[in-house]
Symmetry: C2
Subunit: 325 residues, 2 copies
Amino acid sequence: VIDVHAHVVPAELPFGRRPGRWPVLEVSGDAGTLLVDGKPFRRVRAGGWDLDRRVDDMAGDGVEVQVLSPMPELFSYWAPATEGAAFCAEMNNWLAEAVAKGGGRFLGLGVVPLQDPEMAAAMLAQVDELGLRGVEVGSNVEGVAIGDRRFRPFLAEAARRGLCVLVHAFHPPQWSQLRPAVVANAATFPNEIGFAAATLVMGGSVPALPDLRLALSHGGGSFLTMLARLGYAWEGAGEIHGDVPEPPERYARRLYYDTLTFSTEGLELLASAVGPSQVLVGSDYPFVPLPAGSTLAGSGLADDARRAVEVDNARRFLGLEEDPS
Amino acid sequence: VIDVHAHVVPAELPFGRRPGRWPVLEVSGDAGTLLVDGKPFRRVRAGGWDLDRRVDDMAGDGVEVQVLSPMPELFSYWAPATEGAAFCAEMNNWLAEAVAKGGGRFLGLGVVPLQDPEMAAAMLAQVDELGLRGVEVGSNVEGVAIGDRRFRPFLAEAARRGLCVLVHAFHPPQWSQLRPAVVANAATFPNEIGFAAATLVMGGSVPALPDLRLALSHGGGSFLTMLARLGYAWEGAGEIHGDVPEPPERYARRLYYDTLTFSTEGLELLASAVGPSQVLVGSDYPFVPLPAGSTLAGSGLADDARRAVEVDNARRFLGLEEDPS
């Protein structure tokens, strides 16, 4: 099993002792707490920063390979772009070292300072040189959806380099209206990634970049729910047919989706709506304690579809020629 | 067939000639345009204001009874509360007159100035006296979700009076990020009503008010997609078990949902997830040209479920003792 949605939080974060919003990880034994602005933002299990613990957890969870990406709170899109770029460069180096230490157990997705799309595109050279498979990006950058046209040259550069892009639900606008955080996440992350997917398709970036390998976190969230209505809207919106020449369902089947739907029914629906070839195992390790290796247990997927979801689709998404395990 | 989601836009709107944000309908023959701040907001077909045309359209669409509610843009939650209350009172009088003229073809849902929840609760007396069946409310009021605790006394008063509440997706935060409007609606309305539903359940208002008859527009939008994850979140959020004693799926089956999912698959999924007893025909007339009478055509619903969705559930939701047709 390859798990494409697994986060890291280095114990020593870049700029972790500077004043301001730069995140800090406080570690006490097995317990970590990410501080943002000096306030506890989220607890982190030891596997978040300790690679040996991570490998033990993977063995217990039935996962052969994890694709490491930073915890989204580390994107730091709020920062001045040059500082953000320096932060991302350090994170990418950390990821590359982790991959090297992993002896084949780890692959990596880097981060880039999307608050400056040109700088982000340029930084893909570092991501590429470090041997990372692609990048993780937020569903929005300081409130601007990732499907906004300003991000298209960046996505085009990722496609040109053959780097994949994992879009992760990030800072949904209504998050602060529910408590506690676990409930707010449940009520807003699926909507947020669904909206991001709609902007990527209906805004024209997915239609314009057929070679881009793009995955959506959280099973694409509400994207599937809105797809029929997007199709109805597309029919009536001739003015966008230049940018979006085919109905949105067509493009939905070009994207990848992780399995993080929290139900077997949701997973089966996803596979049937977009095709089992577009589904990737994703666990949100170390934040969600559901073992990735048994993601498909109890699902009605046929053996070949299961093998595709567990291994082959991820290899295709990641641009791997040979089985990395 | 009873259509519970059908909007009106009176040709002569309250305050329609005052300067400011008060909406104005410009009518030229069969074509209407709602102006907001002097700018075209949305086109309206003649049935929006002309009751004879509406009855003709209903005959063509196979609808016996329409439940009239104002176009959501008329909520006017932005206005000072006393002005909003005066606007709502006029709208409610217009609705009651339309119902009286309809000879049994129309029922009505009023509006209330939720920018002042106490004033809104008090205005339910007028709604009740006019014989309207309940009220239509926005999914949020100036950005505050309808599940916020401040609206609970209002919802409790509706329950006490036996008035039903139709929650309609309204002013989603990300709406302006996509164009044209029909595409923005498709990408944001389902999310918006889904989030509102989550706040109503996880914020405790639905658990606290077992007698409240509450319906969600647009088939509840993304609410079903997030329900499994809300269940996972509920398990881990012991601090809300006082306000939400049962898992969210339980409360989801207490709410009503209209059929406006834009696909037969979506409709079947809805009926299977929440039970066919909770589904109501809703068309969004005059804004969506899909005939309400054939909403269930092609669906796999059994005959008794179909009869329930087309008539009986609506009568129960509306608190009717006898068949109004």
